[in-house]
């Protein structure tokens, strides 16, 4: 059975005008099966709502999913707000449809990694565990 102690908490958020969350749910399930507590925000969140949820839920990781093309604007806003709330230690990951040329830009604003279509969910789990070093 499960032992008590620290648990990795992850917020999976869907930003803006984008109603497709199949990918976000697949990732959420994979993280759940890897023993993490996954909080799902639901659709159409504003950057303010995402950051406030992350704050209240005291998460270690935020996974942002976006397929609409507004990633640069919205992700930048999320990163700014996290800084404002002194939540820079939260690891932010991105997924969805992100063009190759934007990957560098997103990393520059502090997104830890971008996981595009076709990513093996195991890689996301490994990435998070390695970054947090809470688990082997």
């Amino acid at each position: 059975m499960v032992e008590e102690g620290k648990k990795i908490r992850v917020l999976i958020a869907k930003l803006g005008l984008n109603g497709h969350d199949r990918g976000a749910k697949v990732v959420a399930r994979a993280l759940r099966d890897a023993g993490m507590e996954v909080i799902y925000t639901g659709l159409h969140q504003t950057p303010e709502q995402v950051v406030e949820s992350a704050l209240q839920e005291d998460v270690d990781v935020i996974g942002l999913s976006l397929l609409s093309g507004a990633h640069l604007t919205l992700f930048t806003k999320v990163m700014e707000l996290l800084k404002k709330e002194s939540l820079e230690n939260i690891i932010v990951l991105a997924g969805g449809i992100i063009p190759e040329e934007d990957v560098t830009k997103l990393k520059e604003i502090g997104i830890a990694e971008i996981f595009g279509p076709g990513t093996d969910t195991k890689d996301i789990v490994e990435f998070i565990k390695k970054k947090l070093k809470k688990w082997k």
Binding site: E3, K7, I39, Y40, G42, H44, E52, Q56, E57, D58
Partner: protein, 307 residues
């Protein structure tokens, strides 16, 4: 500023961090909980329980809206099941509470049950205290929603709202012990579905009690915001009833007694386990029990004798 002072000042980040410490059973949490304890006891804790899919989260979102209209500050604790296999959890109650995620006077925390039975997480009672000390007037606790065994909430909440809906079974379900006995108020949600009147009638028949508080039955449609002011009203009536009948004082004393006893038991268990396991007697006994040299009942008695 100490984390405890920050919580008293309503600092959201401090609230969130202390909840994590409590959930993780961190030794630091005890110290902080102790320092905020004198400032607790102001919030009205309302438990919302009922089967999965009956609309608890939606109802909580609407209740929160109603209380915010009255200028009250609201805390929400939403518990979802943790996997007994991986320990992971999918916490999805926020999805229905989206409209409040920008409101700084609403604090929503999702919790995994982390192996606890009875519909709430081990740390639930402590988390209500943190929200209470931070100045919330109302704390809404949403239980797991596994159904008939979600009765632990009655130890934490002052008012228990049991949510049900048409189509979950006939009156035989309503006669069963447990959930039906802990409710102060019953909500028949999704009352637009056929059979709602029958559910209300069954409940009213089963709930007929002699003397004391007579549980109220309310028809609602949380999605359409129908029946919500009536529910808020019913909760208020229950609160006034408890105060006027002098039952509140007795209820609070009983809660304090149960909680104190549980803490004593927990400390005692930890103390004994540390002593026993540190001495290796425990493992020795396991070996002997395994070889049928001694039975576990006599072994337990011998082990305790040694203390």
């Amino acid at each position: 500023m100490e984390i405890a002072d920050k919580i008293l000042a309503g600092d959201r980040k401090a609230i969130a961090e202390l909840i994590t410490l409590v959930e993780n059973n961190s030794p630091k949490a005890i110290k902080y909980l102790a320092s905020i304890y004198p400032y607790t006891g102001k919030a009205w804790v309302i438990g919302i329980t009922g089967p999965p899919g009956c609309g608890k989260s939606t109802l909580i979102a609407q209740l929160t809206k109603e209380y915010r209209k009255q200028g009250k500050k609201v805390g929400v604790i939403a518990i979802d099941p943790s996997s007994p296999f991986s320990g992971g959890a999918f916490l999805g109650d926020r999805v229905r509470m989206q409209e409040h995620s920008g409101d700084r006077d609403v604090f929503i925390r999702s919790m995994g049950s982390r192996g606890s039975l009875g519909g709430v997480a081990r740390a639930t009672s402590e988390v209500t205290k943190i929200l209470d000390a931070s100045g919330k007037d109302i704390v809404l606790v949403e239980t797991l929603g596994v159904g008939q065994a979600d009765v632990e909430i009655a130890k934490t909440a002052l008012t228990v709202v049991v949510v049900t809906m048409p189509g979950t079974g006939d009156e035989i379900q309503a006669i069963k012990a447990g959930i039906i006995e802990i409710g102060d108020i019953f909500v028949v949600n999704k009352a637009d579905l056929p059979g709602a009147e029958q559910v209300v009638a069954n409940l009213e028949m089963m709930l007929a009690r002699e003397g004391g508080w007579k549980p109220l039955v309310i028809k609602a449609n949380a999605l359409q915001n129908l029946g919500i002011p009536e529910l808020v009203n019913a909760i208020q009536k229950h609160l006034e009833y408890l105060k006027e009948s002098n039952q509140l004082a007795a209820k609070l004393k009983e809660k304090t007694r149960i909680e104190f006893m549980e803490i004593v038991k927990q400390n005692l268990t930890n103390y004994i386990l540390e002593k026993v396991i540190a001495k290796h007697d425990f493992e020795e006994f396991v070996e002997r029990i395994l070889k049928r040299q001694i039975d576990p009942y006599s072994a337990a008695a011998k082990l305790i004798e040694k203390l």
